[in-house]
Each structure stands twice: as C-alpha cells, then as structure tokens.
Symmetry: C2
Amino acid sequence: MSPTPLILLADQVLTLDAAATIHTPGAVTVEGAEIRAVGPPPERPVGEIVDLRGSVLLPGLVNTHTHTPMWVFRGLTEDVPRGQWLTGRLPPLQKRLTSEDLRSGALAGCLELLQNGVTTIADRYGHMDTVATAVEASGLRAVVGHSLYDHTAEADLAVSERLLERFGTDPARSRLWAGLAPHATDTCGPNLLRRVRRLADRTGARVFIHVAQSDDEVAAVLARGVAGCASYLDDLGLLGPEVVAAHATYLSDAEADLVGSRQTAVAHCPSSNAKLEGRVAPIARMRRAGAVVGLGTDAACCNNGMDLFEEMKVAGLLNKVAADDPVAFPALDLLRAATSEAARALGIDHLAGTLEPGKRADIIAVRTRSAHLQPWHDPVANLVYTARGSDVVAVFVDGRLLVRGGRPVDLDSERILADARQAAGRLADVRA
Amino acid sequence: MSPTPLILLADQVLTLDAAATIHTPGAVTVEGAEIRAVGPPPERPVGEIVDLRGSVLLPGLVNTHTHTPMWVFRGLTEDVPRGQWLTGRLPPLQKRLTSEDLRSGALAGCLELLQNGVTTIADRYGHMDTVATAVEASGLRAVVGHSLYDHTAEADLAVSERLLERFGTDPARSRLWAGLAPHATDTCGPNLLRRVRRLADRTGARVFIHVAQSDDEVAAVLARGVAGCASYLDDLGLLGPEVVAAHATYLSDAEADLVGSRQTAVAHCPSSNAKLEGRVAPIARMRRAGAVVGLGTDAACCNNGMDLFEEMKVAGLLNKVAADDPVAFPALDLLRAATSEAARALGIDHLAGTLEPGKRADIIAVRTRSAHLQPWHDPVANLVYTARGSDVVAVFVDGRLLVRGGRPVDLDSERILADARQAAGRLADVRA
C-alpha cells in the first residue's frame, strides 16, 4: 500500500531545476520519501494538504563541510593569530573530550543545522563511529567520514572500514552513508593517501580532504618537493569529481587551475577562511577551470554559526571583493552553491538539491511575511541576502517532517542542548 | 511623582562600558527614561521586576547609516555592474514614489530595525519632512537629515531648516533630532557645502555626507582639481568629529589618513560596500589615524538586510581579509562599533551606547538558549559571530518597551507591512 501523498501548498516554489523554475503559488506533492509532482497547486488535490502558505518552498540546503561535534568548542577559539588555530588552540580542547561528549555536541550541531534549513551534511571528525549515531538520529541526510592521520593511520583506517561496511557508500541506498576522510595534505603522507585511493576504488567511497587550509599546510607539502597541495593530490590520483576538497584557500593560480581542470568538488567555507585565516579561496578561478563548488559552514567554532543562508551572503560579499567586481558570484549562483551545486559536489544531484519529481523529498519552507523579507520583489536575492536560518519554519527530509514552526518535531531540543552544554562545560577552564 | 522603577533581570548584562564589565547574572534598574543602576541582581529589589532570564542584556544597537524609505526597493537593484547602481538603477525607481509611499517604506524599515535590536539610527533621504514622522512614530531614537543636492539646493535647504527648527539638534533634548545631510562630495559643490558649514555652525547640527562611495564620485571630485574627496571636504571645514562620513570606500592612503587625523566619524557599511562596489573601505588605516568608526547597514536594497548583528560579523570577516590577518578587528571592537563607538560617532555617547547609570534606557535582550547560541563560552564572540536580529526578544528605548517576545508592542506590524508592500508594488514593473 502506498502512503497517502502529502500536498505542500505554498505562496511560491523555487525548484532550482536547470531552468530555475518558480511557481507562484506552488505545490509539491510528496509520496513517501519522494517528490511526485512540482507545479502550480493542483485543482483537485488527492492527498493530505499541508498548508505552508505564507512561505516559499525550496530544496533543503546542502552543507558540504561540517564537523558537528565541534559545536562544543564554539567561542573558545576567538581572534587567534594565523598559524596557531589548528595546531595550537584546538589540540588542548580536543584531548579533553570523550567520544560521548562529542556525540552530545554532534547532536546539538545537527539540531542547529536542521533548524537552519540544512537537510544534507558532509560531516567529518574523529570518533566518527560514535558521532555517526548522533548524525543518524538527527534525521539529517549525511555522508560521514572518520578523519585519517598518518600518526594514527591503522586505527583510523579500521574505523573507516567499519563505517563503510556499516553504512555503505551509496547515497541512493540509505540516508546516512560513509566516505573516506583523510585529514589534510600535510597530515597525510603518500602511503596513507595511496591506501585511501585503493579503498575508495574498492568501495566506491568519495574522498573528503582539507586542502591548503593554512599556509603551514602548504609549507609542509612544498617541503615534500611537490608543486603544491593540489599537485600532491593529483599525483596520487586524488583530484577529480569524486574528491571533495575543503577550503582550497592557499592555492597558486596554477594549483587552482589544476583543481578545476580535474572537475574536483570544492567545499567553499568563506566565513571560516576569512575568520581563521583572513583569506578568500580562489573560487572564481577554480569554477572557471571546471570545479564544482558547494558551500560549507565548517564547524561552529570556525564561523561561528552553521547557517547556510548567512553563508550564501558571506560568500557573495567576499567573492565580490576578491574579484573587485560587484557582479561576481551573482545571487542565483550563490543559491545554487547551497543547493543544486552543493548536491553535485557531494555526488547526490540525482537525489537532492532541486525540487523535481523522482528526487527525495528534502524540502524546506521559509516564512516570507517578516519585515526583513518584504517586499518580495526578488525571491532569489531575498533568500540569499536577507533570509536567515531562523526564517525556516518547516523542514522535510525523505518526506518526513523534522521541523515544524521552526522547532524540531521529534528531537528533544531541551535535553539535547543540556547534554551538549554539559560536555562543553568541561572545557571552560581551557579557555585562553 | 517619580515612576516605579523597572528592574530587568537577566542571565548576563554586558555593559560595554570602558572596562567592558559583564555581570553574570545581572540586572539593570530603569527609572523613567534613564538607567539608574547596573550590576548583579539586587538582593531587595524595589520596583517592578521584568524577568528576562534566558537572555543577556546589552546596549541597544546604534546604526550609523540608514535610508529607511528605501525598504521598498529591496530586491530591485541586484547584481548591478559597478557605476550603474546609484546613477543608473536607482533614479527610475525613486521618481516613481510619492512622499507617502516613502513614509510607508520608512515605517516598515523602522519596524525591521527595531525587531533586529537597533535602538538608534542616523537616517537620511529625500522627503525627510514626511519620512521623519514615520521614524518618530516608530519609537526609535534617531537623527534625521534631508538630502541636499546642488540641483535642488534651495528647496533642500528650506526642508533642512524646517527640520532643524522642528526637531532641534540636541540629542539630549528629544528622541528625534535633526542633522544636515549634504548628499555626497560629487553632488554637492563648494557653494552648497559652505552654506551647510555655516548652517551647522549656527545651529550646532552634525553633518552627514556620503564620501567616496563610488569611483565615479572620486573621479568627479578629482576633476575639480583637488587631491580627493577627503581633501575637498577638509578644505571646506567638513572633516572632524562632528562630521559623519558614510562609506569612505575609495580613498587613497593619504586621504584615509586625513579622514582619521581630523577624528572624523566614519559610518562603515561593509555589506553595502562589498555588494554594490566589490570593495572594503580602508577602516583599519582610518581607525589607526584617529577616526571614530561605527557600523551602518545602509539601505535595505544595498545589503539587503538591516541587521547590525550580521553587519558586525560581515565587518569582521571583510576587514580580516582586507588586513590579511585573522586578528584584525577583534570581536570586542566589532561589538563596540555597533554600540559604544557608534554612539560616539553620532555624538550621543553621553546618552547611549553603553549600559551605565545616568544614560538613557536603550536596552535590548538577546535570547541565548537556542542551539545556535550555545554553548555560551564567549558572550562577545557569540553576539558578534552567531547571534542574529531574530534572537532579540526585548527592546527598550528611553525605558519604553517597544519589542516584547520579538514582536512590536505598539506598532501594528500587519498594517505597516501591508501599506509598505502596497507602495513597493508600484515598482514591480520597473524591475530590470
């Protein structure tokens, strides 16, 4: 027996399909986990009406780079001089926490992301066997990867293999799936990366790696006698459409072109890059050369929010400045970088990132009646430059209503935050 | 008979006084329009308790550059090539509207600002005799100026004089007061600016002017044979602590130093400068040289929000990138640029911008219990980098509660937005 279809009625539907079709008013018909129809409201609706008038519907946002457990660190790594954040400030915090602490933080982070209208994340960190259970429980669509480092390679590979076995690598088969997540180009030597490459080939897993996030990373890679972080990865077969390079900040023109020429996916984290490094990644150049660019918020302690609406705006402003051109990265491209292109970066564009029949019903409703979202002359510009995560009133993942009236439907928000605050409390005395 | 004091109880009070004192928990005692006491919660409170636990209190935000009537243009000037925004895109929109349309837009803009926790604005535009009535009705503290142009100088001066007469120039005497608002360094020749200077001397009015907002403006000023926009103003006696220079974007190092050396107030509008021009103003250099820098959102169609919380973050990110240094413009400085320093820029630091006994009771409460504002390790960083206007639950101006539970107390939000949408609707067909 097929489930009763849901018919979501709204003032407007932004499909973000190839033509960026907009229906005013509009409706999305959902059957089970899938979108059955998108268009004007049906004249004789068959199914259960979900009245979302006063809102616009759009695809759930896709966050291409997160570390949900680091939610507990928010506010503990502020105004840190360049070069001291990753290797100086974070380690004493990280070694304080148990995997259960991190699980609590991850669940709070997922709650925050959901309330902000994010429906898919690419999440990576240590202790991912424990953390993944939080991500799974949250209801988010997610690819998870356990960070791999040279100095803990055997143990990290073992966790990674368990994740691959448990969750598989096919996003079409389960809401949570596994990727391979070597940490970065400096912390992963050629031997480890060759093993990652072989494991990816054997399992079909995508590879997620930090690339040129800091100038220290670049210096360490150059010391290996290669031309740069991108060349290093390319020599190991680790650039391409199935590799998601996070940050890609400190790249020469030639290295940026190389990233693009391989159609590599880039997780662009503009707030994080600006806040922690005072830099903008060479996004325009990589896109011109062929890279697929999706936005990422990075962790709560890098940004310090996890609001992809804000990230679209920040990406626009920083990239316009980097290009010395107010027309650079126009609004529709920014909205795509948080939806359809982000889905392409994660290899799930056959499943998510647009509102089209046959795709998964990952849908968000944004309330448009507030003073800051009126007038509604330009839906795309309003969503990119004015909307905030707090304007999201409803979130569906796989057709399941996870957020209603801006609040989680099934998750116990009070308890999740209390648990995560308790974990975070263990860090208060480590503050600088 | 003195009014019953209000005792505002909160989880925390950020005073933003010289020492940036924080009380945890804290209380602010308000008597009439003034703050009487700030500190830990009193043991034997005398007065009416206002329970704002679950929130932090801080000074109401001070927005140093707005054009509230332009609310109606939001979304109509997107992705416009450099040089075409001010002179190409805006005029056909502007000439469509009546002063009543602009009044409607201004009231909607004020509503938006209040809900975002802004308690003081420096507002300037045409038709300011009509617009000012909306700003006054909103309950905001505000200095208003009618834009003066060479080509309409006599009429503009007449409106300006009427405003000065009606509202006075002393912020200590009324919640709304008047300033002088010559439009910009290119649109105002020396004759007009000399008359403005004399009128300012006679009335004590502050002067508000756009400076070096576009490269076209700079080119026009250079054609007068002066060294730049700042030199031009300086020759006319129009740099200094009683002049608020908006934008100050396209300045050479020498011109930026000149602005600073005169202790000029600068209304820094980072989102607007990045979005419309692809630029960051030389803020660090002007501050080093002595400028007083407050943040401004500029108009709704430039930003496209009017959320000073977001503007603090954007200012931080853009200035860190401009400085190539993640430590540039640290979090506390950003918070001050929206509170105590912004008040100094507007010449109201004796009245607003901090929570101290004797100052006006312009106070906001920010709810801290949401997922995105936890953990609360660092209040300043959380307010600057994570909070949003939508986290503001209570707003007091002059001790009067204007926003409660995030919603306006006296303003009829539905009607204000309906009126303003109707005005905005007249522009739909002018869209590019």
